[in-house]
Point group: C2
Chain length 297, copies 2
Protein backbone atom coordinates (compact mmCIF):
# COMPACT_ATOMS: atom_id res chain seq x y z
CA UNK A 1 0.00 0.00 0.00
CA UNK A 2 1.47 3.36 -1.07
CA UNK A 3 1.05 6.40 1.15
CA UNK A 4 -0.95 8.58 -1.26
CA UNK A 5 -1.91 12.20 -0.54
CA UNK A 6 -5.60 11.32 -0.34
CA UNK A 7 -4.99 9.55 2.99
CA UNK A 8 -6.23 11.27 6.16
CA UNK A 9 -3.42 11.44 8.70
CA UNK A 10 -4.10 11.73 12.42
CA UNK A 11 -1.18 12.56 14.70
CA UNK A 12 -1.70 11.77 18.37
CA UNK A 13 0.74 13.82 20.46
CA UNK A 14 1.74 17.19 19.00
CA UNK A 15 5.24 17.52 20.42
CA UNK A 16 8.67 17.85 18.79
CA UNK A 17 8.24 14.72 16.68
CA UNK A 18 4.49 14.94 16.09
CA UNK A 19 4.94 18.53 14.94
CA UNK A 20 7.82 17.60 12.65
CA UNK A 21 5.73 14.82 11.06
CA UNK A 22 2.81 17.25 10.66
CA UNK A 23 4.92 19.93 8.96
CA UNK A 24 6.43 17.52 6.48
CA UNK A 25 3.19 15.72 5.61
CA UNK A 26 1.06 18.88 5.30
CA UNK A 27 3.71 20.38 3.03
CA UNK A 28 3.37 17.25 0.87
CA UNK A 29 -0.37 17.82 0.47
CA UNK A 30 -1.79 15.44 3.06
CA UNK A 31 -4.77 16.31 5.19
CA UNK A 32 -3.33 16.24 8.74
CA UNK A 33 -5.22 16.57 12.04
CA UNK A 34 -4.15 15.95 15.61
CA UNK A 35 -5.17 14.97 19.10
CA UNK A 36 -2.95 16.28 21.85
CA UNK A 37 -3.12 17.24 25.52
CA UNK A 38 -2.66 21.01 25.42
CA UNK A 39 -4.92 23.38 23.48
CA UNK A 40 -1.92 25.69 23.08
CA UNK A 41 -0.18 23.00 20.99
CA UNK A 42 -3.25 22.67 18.74
CA UNK A 43 -3.48 26.44 18.33
CA UNK A 44 0.23 26.74 17.57
CA UNK A 45 0.20 23.99 14.93
CA UNK A 46 -3.00 25.31 13.32
CA UNK A 47 -1.62 28.84 13.39
CA UNK A 48 1.51 27.68 11.59
CA UNK A 49 -0.60 25.83 9.04
CA UNK A 50 0.96 22.51 10.01
CA UNK A 51 -2.42 20.86 10.68
CA UNK A 52 -6.01 21.49 9.55
CA UNK A 53 -7.43 21.15 13.02
CA UNK A 54 -6.96 19.37 16.31
CA UNK A 55 -8.66 18.31 19.52
CA UNK A 56 -7.52 17.93 23.13
CA UNK A 57 -9.96 15.09 23.80
CA UNK A 58 -9.99 11.67 22.14
CA UNK A 59 -12.93 12.54 19.85
CA UNK A 60 -14.28 9.23 18.38
CA UNK A 61 -15.27 10.96 15.11
CA UNK A 62 -11.79 12.39 14.64
CA UNK A 63 -10.25 8.98 15.40
CA UNK A 64 -12.58 7.33 12.88
CA UNK A 65 -11.62 10.00 10.32
CA UNK A 66 -8.05 8.68 10.16
CA UNK A 67 -6.71 6.40 7.42
CA UNK A 68 -3.26 6.52 8.98
CA UNK A 69 -2.54 7.41 12.61
CA UNK A 70 0.87 8.32 14.01
CA UNK A 71 1.15 7.85 17.77
CA UNK A 72 3.84 10.21 19.11
CA UNK A 73 3.46 9.66 22.85
CA UNK A 74 5.55 8.43 25.78
CA UNK A 75 5.31 4.62 25.96
CA UNK A 76 3.03 4.36 29.02
CA UNK A 77 0.71 7.12 27.76
CA UNK A 78 0.71 5.42 24.34
CA UNK A 79 -0.47 2.12 25.87
CA UNK A 80 -3.10 3.82 28.04
CA UNK A 81 -4.40 5.82 25.08
CA UNK A 82 -4.75 2.75 22.84
CA UNK A 83 -6.44 0.74 25.61
CA UNK A 84 -8.99 3.52 25.97
CA UNK A 85 -9.46 4.71 22.39
CA UNK A 86 -8.23 1.96 20.05
CA UNK A 87 -11.80 0.77 19.55
CA UNK A 88 -12.73 4.01 17.73
CA UNK A 89 -10.41 3.40 14.75
CA UNK A 90 -12.08 2.35 11.50
CA UNK A 91 -11.33 -1.07 10.00
CA UNK A 92 -8.46 -0.68 7.54
CA UNK A 93 -6.74 2.09 9.47
CA UNK A 94 -2.98 1.67 9.85
CA UNK A 95 -1.28 2.92 13.02
CA UNK A 96 2.41 3.59 13.49
CA UNK A 97 4.49 5.23 16.25
CA UNK A 98 7.80 6.87 17.17
CA UNK A 99 8.58 4.93 20.35
CA UNK A 100 12.23 4.33 21.22
CA UNK A 101 11.67 0.83 22.66
CA UNK A 102 9.68 -1.85 20.90
CA UNK A 103 9.20 -5.34 22.38
CA UNK A 104 7.58 -3.97 25.55
CA UNK A 105 5.13 -1.91 23.49
CA UNK A 106 4.47 -3.41 20.04
CA UNK A 107 2.84 -6.72 21.07
CA UNK A 108 0.65 -5.10 23.72
CA UNK A 109 -0.63 -2.47 21.27
CA UNK A 110 -1.33 -5.10 18.61
CA UNK A 111 -3.34 -7.10 21.16
CA UNK A 112 -5.31 -4.05 22.28
CA UNK A 113 -6.45 -3.03 18.77
CA UNK A 114 -9.68 -4.33 17.21
CA UNK A 115 -9.50 -6.71 14.24
CA UNK A 116 -8.83 -4.92 10.96
CA UNK A 117 -6.87 -2.11 12.63
CA UNK A 118 -3.15 -2.73 12.11
CA UNK A 119 -0.25 -1.35 14.11
CA UNK A 120 3.13 -1.33 12.39
CA UNK A 121 5.82 0.05 14.72
CA UNK A 122 8.64 2.34 13.63
CA UNK A 123 11.46 4.19 15.34
CA UNK A 124 12.55 7.46 13.74
CA UNK A 125 16.08 7.92 15.12
CA UNK A 126 16.05 11.68 15.15
CA UNK A 127 15.72 14.27 17.86
CA UNK A 128 16.76 17.54 19.40
CA UNK A 129 17.82 18.80 22.81
CA UNK A 130 14.61 20.81 22.99
CA UNK A 131 11.00 19.72 23.21
CA UNK A 132 7.53 20.76 22.19
CA UNK A 133 5.76 21.50 18.92
CA UNK A 134 7.32 24.99 18.96
CA UNK A 135 10.69 23.37 18.29
CA UNK A 136 9.55 20.85 15.71
CA UNK A 137 11.50 20.76 12.46
CA UNK A 138 11.35 18.13 9.69
CA UNK A 139 15.02 18.90 9.03
CA UNK A 140 15.95 16.56 11.89
CA UNK A 141 14.98 13.58 9.69
CA UNK A 142 17.52 14.40 7.00
CA UNK A 143 20.41 11.94 7.10
CA UNK A 144 18.82 10.03 9.99
CA UNK A 145 17.87 6.36 10.36
CA UNK A 146 14.32 5.01 10.40
CA UNK A 147 13.68 1.51 11.66
CA UNK A 148 10.50 -0.46 11.02
CA UNK A 149 9.89 -3.32 13.50
CA UNK A 150 7.24 -5.69 12.11
CA UNK A 151 5.82 -8.72 13.93
CA UNK A 152 4.21 -11.82 12.39
CA UNK A 153 0.88 -10.00 12.76
CA UNK A 154 1.85 -7.33 10.22
CA UNK A 155 0.87 -7.39 6.55
CA UNK A 156 3.23 -6.65 3.66
CA UNK A 157 0.95 -3.71 2.75
CA UNK A 158 1.24 -2.02 6.13
CA UNK A 159 5.00 -2.57 6.22
CA UNK A 160 5.30 -0.95 2.80
CA UNK A 161 3.12 1.96 3.91
CA UNK A 162 5.29 2.48 6.98
CA UNK A 163 8.53 2.38 4.99
CA UNK A 164 6.94 4.75 2.52
CA UNK A 165 6.19 7.17 5.37
CA UNK A 166 9.85 7.10 6.37
CA UNK A 167 10.89 7.83 2.78
CA UNK A 168 8.46 10.73 2.51
CA UNK A 169 9.77 12.21 5.77
CA UNK A 170 13.25 12.22 4.24
CA UNK A 171 15.08 9.63 6.32
CA UNK A 172 18.41 8.60 4.81
CA UNK A 173 18.33 4.94 5.74
CA UNK A 174 15.25 2.80 6.27
CA UNK A 175 15.64 -0.70 7.67
CA UNK A 176 13.62 -3.50 9.27
CA UNK A 177 14.40 -5.27 12.53
CA UNK A 178 12.41 -7.53 14.83
CA UNK A 179 11.29 -5.69 17.98
CA UNK A 180 13.79 -7.77 19.98
CA UNK A 181 16.75 -7.05 17.69
CA UNK A 182 15.77 -3.37 17.64
CA UNK A 183 15.81 -3.25 21.43
CA UNK A 184 19.22 -4.94 21.69
CA UNK A 185 20.61 -2.56 19.09
CA UNK A 186 19.06 0.55 20.63
CA UNK A 187 20.36 -0.47 24.06
CA UNK A 188 23.82 -0.27 22.54
CA UNK A 189 23.80 2.67 20.14
CA UNK A 190 21.40 4.92 22.02
CA UNK A 191 20.70 3.95 25.63
CA UNK A 192 24.26 2.94 26.56
CA UNK A 193 25.60 6.14 25.03
CA UNK A 194 23.23 8.19 27.18
CA UNK A 195 24.28 6.25 30.30
CA UNK A 196 27.92 7.00 29.41
CA UNK A 197 27.26 10.70 28.86
CA UNK A 198 25.45 10.99 32.19
CA UNK A 199 28.20 9.10 34.06
CA UNK A 200 30.82 11.31 32.45
CA UNK A 201 29.06 14.44 33.70
CA UNK A 202 28.47 13.15 37.22
CA UNK A 203 31.90 11.57 37.90
CA UNK A 204 33.74 14.88 38.31
CA UNK A 205 32.91 18.00 40.30
CA UNK A 206 35.40 20.54 38.92
CA UNK A 207 33.32 23.72 38.43
CA UNK A 208 35.80 25.13 35.87
CA UNK A 209 35.69 22.17 33.50
CA UNK A 210 34.20 24.08 30.60
CA UNK A 211 37.34 26.23 30.51
CA UNK A 212 39.51 23.22 29.76
CA UNK A 213 37.48 20.92 27.58
CA UNK A 214 38.14 20.18 23.95
CA UNK A 215 35.83 18.93 21.23
CA UNK A 216 36.01 15.34 22.37
CA UNK A 217 34.52 16.03 25.79
CA UNK A 218 31.81 18.25 24.34
CA UNK A 219 30.97 15.55 21.79
CA UNK A 220 30.70 12.82 24.40
CA UNK A 221 28.53 14.85 26.74
CA UNK A 222 26.27 16.61 24.22
CA UNK A 223 23.52 14.12 25.08
CA UNK A 224 24.12 14.53 28.83
CA UNK A 225 21.33 17.11 28.73
CA UNK A 226 18.69 14.52 29.02
CA UNK A 227 14.92 14.41 29.46
CA UNK A 228 14.86 12.31 32.65
CA UNK A 229 11.15 11.49 32.38
CA UNK A 230 11.45 10.01 28.93
CA UNK A 231 14.81 8.31 29.30
CA UNK A 232 14.20 6.71 32.70
CA UNK A 233 11.03 5.24 31.19
CA UNK A 234 12.83 4.01 28.06
CA UNK A 235 15.63 2.51 30.18
CA UNK A 236 13.17 0.70 32.45
CA UNK A 237 11.32 -0.74 29.45
CA UNK A 238 14.57 -2.13 28.01
CA UNK A 239 16.31 -3.00 31.28
CA UNK A 240 17.81 -6.41 30.48
CA UNK A 241 19.19 -5.40 27.09
CA UNK A 242 20.65 -2.18 28.50
CA UNK A 243 22.27 -3.87 31.48
CA UNK A 244 23.99 -6.42 29.25
CA UNK A 245 25.29 -3.62 27.01
CA UNK A 246 26.57 -1.71 30.06
CA UNK A 247 28.37 -4.87 31.18
CA UNK A 248 29.95 -5.45 27.77
CA UNK A 249 31.16 -1.85 27.62
CA UNK A 250 32.41 -1.84 31.22
CA UNK A 251 34.37 -5.00 30.43
CA UNK A 252 36.17 -3.32 27.54
CA UNK A 253 36.93 -0.23 29.62
CA UNK A 254 38.33 -2.48 32.31
CA UNK A 255 40.51 -4.16 29.68
CA UNK A 256 42.05 -0.75 28.88
CA UNK A 257 42.59 -0.14 32.60
CA UNK A 258 44.37 -3.49 32.92
CA UNK A 259 46.62 -2.87 29.89
CA UNK A 260 47.45 0.55 31.34
CA UNK A 261 48.35 -0.67 34.81
CA UNK A 262 50.32 -3.61 33.32
CA UNK A 263 52.08 -1.26 30.91
CA UNK A 264 50.92 -3.54 28.07
CA UNK A 265 51.26 -0.98 25.28
CA UNK A 266 50.96 -3.54 22.50
CA UNK A 267 47.54 -4.76 23.63
CA UNK A 268 46.43 -1.17 24.10
CA UNK A 269 47.48 -0.26 20.55
CA UNK A 270 45.71 -3.37 19.26
CA UNK A 271 42.43 -2.18 20.79
CA UNK A 272 42.97 1.29 19.35
CA UNK A 273 43.59 -0.13 15.88
CA UNK A 274 40.40 -2.21 16.07
CA UNK A 275 38.47 0.83 17.27
CA UNK A 276 39.87 2.96 14.45
CA UNK A 277 39.00 0.35 11.82
CA UNK A 278 35.43 -0.05 13.09
CA UNK A 279 34.84 3.68 13.37
CA UNK A 280 36.15 4.22 9.86
CA UNK A 281 33.04 2.42 8.55
CA UNK A 282 30.87 5.20 9.96
CA UNK A 283 32.72 8.05 8.35
CA UNK A 284 31.63 6.79 4.96
CA UNK A 285 28.19 7.80 6.18
CA UNK A 286 29.04 11.16 7.76
CA UNK A 287 29.91 14.49 6.18
CA UNK A 288 32.04 15.85 9.03
CA UNK A 289 35.70 16.40 8.15
CA UNK A 290 36.64 18.22 11.29
CA UNK A 291 36.68 15.20 13.53
CA UNK A 292 39.04 15.80 16.38
CA UNK A 293 41.46 13.01 17.22
CA UNK A 294 44.75 14.31 15.86
CA UNK A 295 45.95 15.76 19.14
CA UNK A 296 44.67 15.69 22.72
CA UNK A 297 41.67 17.95 22.68
CA UNK B 1 57.49 40.19 27.31
CA UNK B 2 55.22 40.73 24.28
CA UNK B 3 55.52 38.46 21.27
CA UNK B 4 56.49 41.09 18.70
CA UNK B 5 56.89 40.38 14.96
CA UNK B 6 60.66 40.97 15.10
CA UNK B 7 61.08 37.69 17.00
CA UNK B 8 62.60 34.74 15.12
CA UNK B 9 60.40 31.68 15.55
CA UNK B 10 61.77 28.16 15.18
CA UNK B 11 59.28 25.31 14.98
CA UNK B 12 60.68 21.85 15.69
CA UNK B 13 58.39 19.22 14.19
CA UNK B 14 56.48 20.27 11.07
CA UNK B 15 53.34 18.17 11.47
CA UNK B 16 49.65 19.06 11.80
CA UNK B 17 50.22 21.38 14.77
CA UNK B 18 53.66 22.67 13.78
CA UNK B 19 52.31 23.52 10.35
CA UNK B 20 49.25 25.24 11.79
CA UNK B 21 51.44 27.37 14.07
CA UNK B 22 53.70 28.21 11.11
CA UNK B 23 50.81 29.30 8.86
CA UNK B 24 49.31 31.55 11.49
CA UNK B 25 52.58 33.16 12.61
CA UNK B 26 53.95 33.71 9.08
CA UNK B 27 50.64 35.32 8.10
CA UNK B 28 51.13 37.68 11.07
CA UNK B 29 54.54 38.78 9.77
CA UNK B 30 56.88 36.66 11.87
CA UNK B 31 60.03 35.12 10.46
CA UNK B 32 59.40 31.38 10.87
CA UNK B 33 61.81 28.49 10.21
CA UNK B 34 61.66 24.81 11.08
CA UNK B 35 63.55 21.66 11.89
CA UNK B 36 61.73 18.46 11.06
CA UNK B 37 62.49 14.86 10.15
CA UNK B 38 61.31 14.66 6.55
CA UNK B 39 62.64 16.89 3.74
CA UNK B 40 59.21 16.56 2.07
CA UNK B 41 57.63 18.38 5.01
CA UNK B 42 60.17 21.21 4.71
CA UNK B 43 59.58 21.46 0.96
CA UNK B 44 55.80 21.45 1.40
CA UNK B 45 55.81 24.21 4.05
CA UNK B 46 58.31 26.33 2.10
CA UNK B 47 56.32 25.80 -1.11
CA UNK B 48 53.16 26.99 0.65
CA UNK B 49 55.01 30.01 2.00
CA UNK B 50 54.33 28.94 5.58
CA UNK B 51 58.04 29.04 6.55
CA UNK B 52 61.12 30.83 5.19
CA UNK B 53 63.29 27.73 5.30
CA UNK B 54 63.86 24.52 7.19
CA UNK B 55 66.36 21.78 7.93
CA UNK B 56 66.07 18.03 8.57
CA UNK B 57 69.10 18.01 10.88
CA UNK B 58 69.43 19.84 14.21
CA UNK B 59 71.63 22.59 12.75
CA UNK B 60 73.24 24.49 15.71
CA UNK B 61 73.18 27.78 13.76
CA UNK B 62 69.47 27.48 13.04
CA UNK B 63 68.80 26.61 16.68
CA UNK B 64 70.82 29.64 17.81
CA UNK B 65 68.86 31.81 15.35
CA UNK B 66 65.66 31.32 17.36
CA UNK B 67 64.24 33.86 19.82
CA UNK B 68 61.24 31.64 20.41
CA UNK B 69 61.13 27.89 19.73
CA UNK B 70 57.99 25.79 19.53
CA UNK B 71 58.57 22.09 20.08
CA UNK B 72 55.82 20.11 18.32
CA UNK B 73 57.06 16.55 18.84
CA UNK B 74 55.87 13.35 20.50
CA UNK B 75 56.86 13.41 24.20
CA UNK B 76 59.73 10.89 24.04
CA UNK B 77 61.19 12.45 20.86
CA UNK B 78 60.80 15.88 22.46
CA UNK B 79 62.88 14.80 25.49
CA UNK B 80 65.54 13.10 23.34
CA UNK B 81 65.78 16.14 21.07
CA UNK B 82 66.24 18.57 23.98
CA UNK B 83 68.82 16.32 25.66
CA UNK B 84 70.83 16.32 22.44
CA UNK B 85 70.31 19.85 21.13
CA UNK B 86 69.17 22.02 24.03
CA UNK B 87 72.71 23.28 24.48
CA UNK B 88 72.61 25.09 21.11
CA UNK B 89 69.91 27.58 22.13
CA UNK B 90 71.03 31.16 22.78
CA UNK B 91 70.66 32.67 26.27
CA UNK B 92 67.30 34.46 26.41
CA UNK B 93 65.53 32.10 24.07
CA UNK B 94 62.07 31.01 25.23
CA UNK B 95 60.86 27.48 24.38
CA UNK B 96 57.30 26.26 24.45
CA UNK B 97 55.56 23.07 23.31
CA UNK B 98 52.27 21.42 22.37
CA UNK B 99 52.53 18.24 24.46
CA UNK B 100 49.32 16.70 25.78
CA UNK B 101 50.82 15.60 29.12
CA UNK B 102 52.88 17.86 31.33
CA UNK B 103 54.31 16.69 34.68
CA UNK B 104 56.25 13.84 33.04
CA UNK B 105 57.79 16.23 30.52
CA UNK B 106 58.01 19.82 31.80
CA UNK B 107 60.40 19.33 34.75
CA UNK B 108 62.76 17.09 32.78
CA UNK B 109 62.96 19.59 29.90
CA UNK B 110 63.59 22.48 32.29
CA UNK B 111 66.43 20.49 33.90
CA UNK B 112 67.98 19.62 30.54
CA UNK B 113 68.15 23.21 29.25
CA UNK B 114 71.19 25.46 29.87
CA UNK B 115 70.88 28.46 32.20
CA UNK B 116 69.20 31.43 30.54
CA UNK B 117 67.11 29.27 28.19
CA UNK B 118 63.57 29.07 29.53
CA UNK B 119 60.93 26.45 28.79
CA UNK B 120 57.31 27.46 29.40
CA UNK B 121 54.96 24.59 28.62
CA UNK B 122 51.59 24.96 26.92
CA UNK B 123 48.86 22.61 25.69
CA UNK B 124 46.88 23.79 22.68
CA UNK B 125 43.68 21.72 22.94
CA UNK B 126 42.98 21.48 19.25
CA UNK B 127 43.36 18.76 16.69
CA UNK B 128 42.05 16.89 13.71
CA UNK B 129 41.50 13.27 12.73
CA UNK B 130 44.24 13.61 10.12
CA UNK B 131 47.98 14.17 10.49
CA UNK B 132 50.91 15.80 8.76
CA UNK B 133 51.78 19.31 7.64
CA UNK B 134 49.61 18.78 4.52
CA UNK B 135 46.54 18.85 6.77
CA UNK B 136 47.58 21.73 8.99
CA UNK B 137 45.06 24.52 9.42
CA UNK B 138 45.14 27.40 11.93
CA UNK B 139 41.33 27.29 11.89
CA UNK B 140 41.48 24.43 14.42
CA UNK B 141 42.53 26.94 17.11
CA UNK B 142 39.37 29.01 16.77
CA UNK B 143 37.08 28.47 19.76
CA UNK B 144 39.57 26.07 21.36
CA UNK B 145 41.27 26.11 24.78
CA UNK B 146 44.95 26.85 25.38
CA UNK B 147 46.48 25.93 28.71
CA UNK B 148 49.79 27.29 30.00
CA UNK B 149 51.42 25.14 32.71
CA UNK B 150 54.15 27.18 34.49
CA UNK B 151 56.46 25.85 37.20
CA UNK B 152 58.29 27.84 39.90
CA UNK B 153 61.21 28.04 37.44
CA UNK B 154 59.24 30.19 35.00
CA UNK B 155 59.43 33.98 34.81
CA UNK B 156 56.43 36.30 34.50
CA UNK B 157 57.87 37.48 31.17
CA UNK B 158 57.96 34.00 29.61
CA UNK B 159 54.46 33.21 30.89
CA UNK B 160 53.17 36.42 29.34
CA UNK B 161 54.94 35.60 26.06
CA UNK B 162 53.40 32.13 26.02
CA UNK B 163 49.89 33.43 26.73
CA UNK B 164 50.44 36.05 24.05
CA UNK B 165 51.31 33.27 21.58
CA UNK B 166 48.01 31.57 22.39
CA UNK B 167 46.13 34.83 21.82
CA UNK B 168 47.85 35.44 18.49
CA UNK B 169 46.98 31.89 17.37
CA UNK B 170 43.33 32.70 18.01
CA UNK B 171 42.48 30.43 20.96
CA UNK B 172 39.16 31.31 22.60
CA UNK B 173 40.14 30.62 26.19
CA UNK B 174 43.64 30.84 27.68
CA UNK B 175 44.22 29.57 31.20
CA UNK B 176 47.01 28.56 33.57
CA UNK B 177 47.29 25.32 35.52
CA UNK B 178 50.11 23.58 37.36
CA UNK B 179 51.47 20.61 35.36
CA UNK B 180 49.88 18.28 37.94
CA UNK B 181 46.44 19.89 37.78
CA UNK B 182 46.66 19.92 33.99
CA UNK B 183 47.37 16.20 33.93
CA UNK B 184 44.49 15.36 36.28
CA UNK B 185 42.15 17.50 34.20
CA UNK B 186 43.34 16.13 30.86
CA UNK B 187 43.00 12.57 32.17
CA UNK B 188 39.33 13.35 32.62
CA UNK B 189 38.28 15.56 29.72
CA UNK B 190 40.53 14.07 27.06
CA UNK B 191 42.13 10.73 27.92
CA UNK B 192 39.10 9.17 29.62
CA UNK B 193 36.86 10.23 26.74
CA UNK B 194 39.18 8.49 24.28
CA UNK B 195 39.18 5.33 26.43
CA UNK B 196 35.37 5.44 26.41
CA UNK B 197 35.15 5.92 22.66
CA UNK B 198 37.51 3.00 22.05
CA UNK B 199 35.63 0.73 24.48
CA UNK B 200 32.35 1.68 22.82
CA UNK B 201 33.67 0.65 19.42
CA UNK B 202 35.21 -2.62 20.59
CA UNK B 203 32.37 -3.88 22.84
CA UNK B 204 30.03 -4.81 19.99
CA UNK B 205 30.63 -6.74 16.77
CA UNK B 206 27.45 -6.02 14.79
CA UNK B 207 28.71 -5.29 11.25
CA UNK B 208 25.54 -3.37 10.33
CA UNK B 209 25.74 -0.87 13.17
CA UNK B 210 26.21 2.15 10.96
CA UNK B 211 22.74 1.51 9.53
CA UNK B 212 21.12 1.99 12.91
CA UNK B 213 23.09 4.64 14.70
CA UNK B 214 21.89 8.13 15.49
CA UNK B 215 23.78 11.31 16.23
CA UNK B 216 24.55 10.32 19.80
CA UNK B 217 26.52 7.23 18.86
CA UNK B 218 28.39 9.05 16.13
CA UNK B 219 29.21 11.87 18.56
CA UNK B 220 30.53 9.50 21.22
CA UNK B 221 32.69 7.52 18.81
CA UNK B 222 34.01 10.36 16.63
CA UNK B 223 37.31 10.17 18.52
CA UNK B 224 37.41 6.38 18.28
CA UNK B 225 39.55 6.89 15.18
CA UNK B 226 42.69 7.26 17.20
CA UNK B 227 46.42 7.58 16.55
CA UNK B 228 47.53 4.59 18.63
CA UNK B 229 51.21 5.61 18.68
CA UNK B 230 50.51 9.03 20.16
CA UNK B 231 47.68 8.08 22.49
CA UNK B 232 49.27 4.97 23.98
CA UNK B 233 52.31 7.15 24.77
CA UNK B 234 50.19 9.92 26.30
CA UNK B 235 48.22 7.36 28.34
CA UNK B 236 51.40 5.71 29.65
CA UNK B 237 52.85 9.10 30.67
CA UNK B 238 49.70 9.94 32.65
CA UNK B 239 48.87 6.44 33.88
CA UNK B 240 47.94 7.08 37.53
CA UNK B 241 45.70 10.08 36.79
CA UNK B 242 43.97 8.26 33.94
CA UNK B 243 43.35 5.10 35.95
CA UNK B 244 41.74 7.07 38.76
CA UNK B 245 39.48 8.85 36.25
CA UNK B 246 38.52 5.52 34.68
CA UNK B 247 37.64 4.24 38.16
CA UNK B 248 35.53 7.30 38.99
CA UNK B 249 33.64 7.02 35.71
CA UNK B 250 33.17 3.25 35.99
CA UNK B 251 31.75 3.81 39.48
CA UNK B 252 29.10 6.18 38.16
CA UNK B 253 28.19 3.85 35.32
CA UNK B 254 27.84 1.04 37.83
CA UNK B 255 25.56 3.29 39.89
CA UNK B 256 23.24 3.60 36.87
CA UNK B 257 23.35 -0.18 36.41
CA UNK B 258 22.37 -0.69 40.05
CA UNK B 259 19.48 1.81 39.88
CA UNK B 260 18.29 0.07 36.71
CA UNK B 261 18.37 -3.44 38.13
CA UNK B 262 16.77 -2.23 41.38
CA UNK B 263 14.13 -0.32 39.43
CA UNK B 264 15.12 2.79 41.40
CA UNK B 265 13.73 5.32 38.91
CA UNK B 266 13.96 8.25 41.35
CA UNK B 267 17.71 7.87 41.86
CA UNK B 268 18.15 7.45 38.12
CA UNK B 269 16.25 10.66 37.40
CA UNK B 270 18.30 12.44 40.09
CA UNK B 271 21.51 11.52 38.26
CA UNK B 272 20.04 12.65 34.95
CA UNK B 273 19.00 16.00 36.44
CA UNK B 274 22.51 16.55 37.82
CA UNK B 275 23.99 15.60 34.46
CA UNK B 276 21.66 17.97 32.63
CA UNK B 277 22.47 20.85 34.98
CA UNK B 278 26.24 20.33 34.66
CA UNK B 279 26.12 19.97 30.88
CA UNK B 280 24.05 23.13 30.56
CA UNK B 281 27.13 25.12 31.65
CA UNK B 282 28.93 24.00 28.51
CA UNK B 283 26.28 25.06 26.07
CA UNK B 284 26.91 28.66 26.99
CA UNK B 285 30.27 28.06 25.34
CA UNK B 286 29.12 26.15 22.25
CA UNK B 287 27.28 27.34 19.15
CA UNK B 288 25.58 24.06 18.21
CA UNK B 289 21.80 24.18 18.45
CA UNK B 290 21.16 20.82 16.87
CA UNK B 291 22.16 18.83 19.92
CA UNK B 292 20.36 15.54 19.87
CA UNK B 293 18.82 14.41 23.12
CA UNK B 294 15.11 14.96 22.57
CA UNK B 295 14.40 11.43 21.41
CA UNK B 296 16.41 8.24 21.22
CA UNK B 297 18.86 8.83 18.43
Amino acid sequence: MKLTEDKHILIVGMGLLGGSYAQSLTAQGFSVRCITRRQSSVDYAVGKGWIESGATAADPELIAWADVAILALYPHIFLEWIAENGKHFRKGTVLTDVTGVKSSVVYRVQELLPDGVEFIAAHPMAGKEVYGVENSDPGIFRGANYIVTPTEKNTAEAIELCRNLGERLGFAHISELTPEKHDRMIAYVSQLTHCIAVSLMTCNRDPHLQDYTGDSFRDLTRIARINEEMWSELFALNKEALISQIDAFAGELHRIRTYLSDGNEEKLKEMMRLSTARRALFDKKTESNTESTGTPS
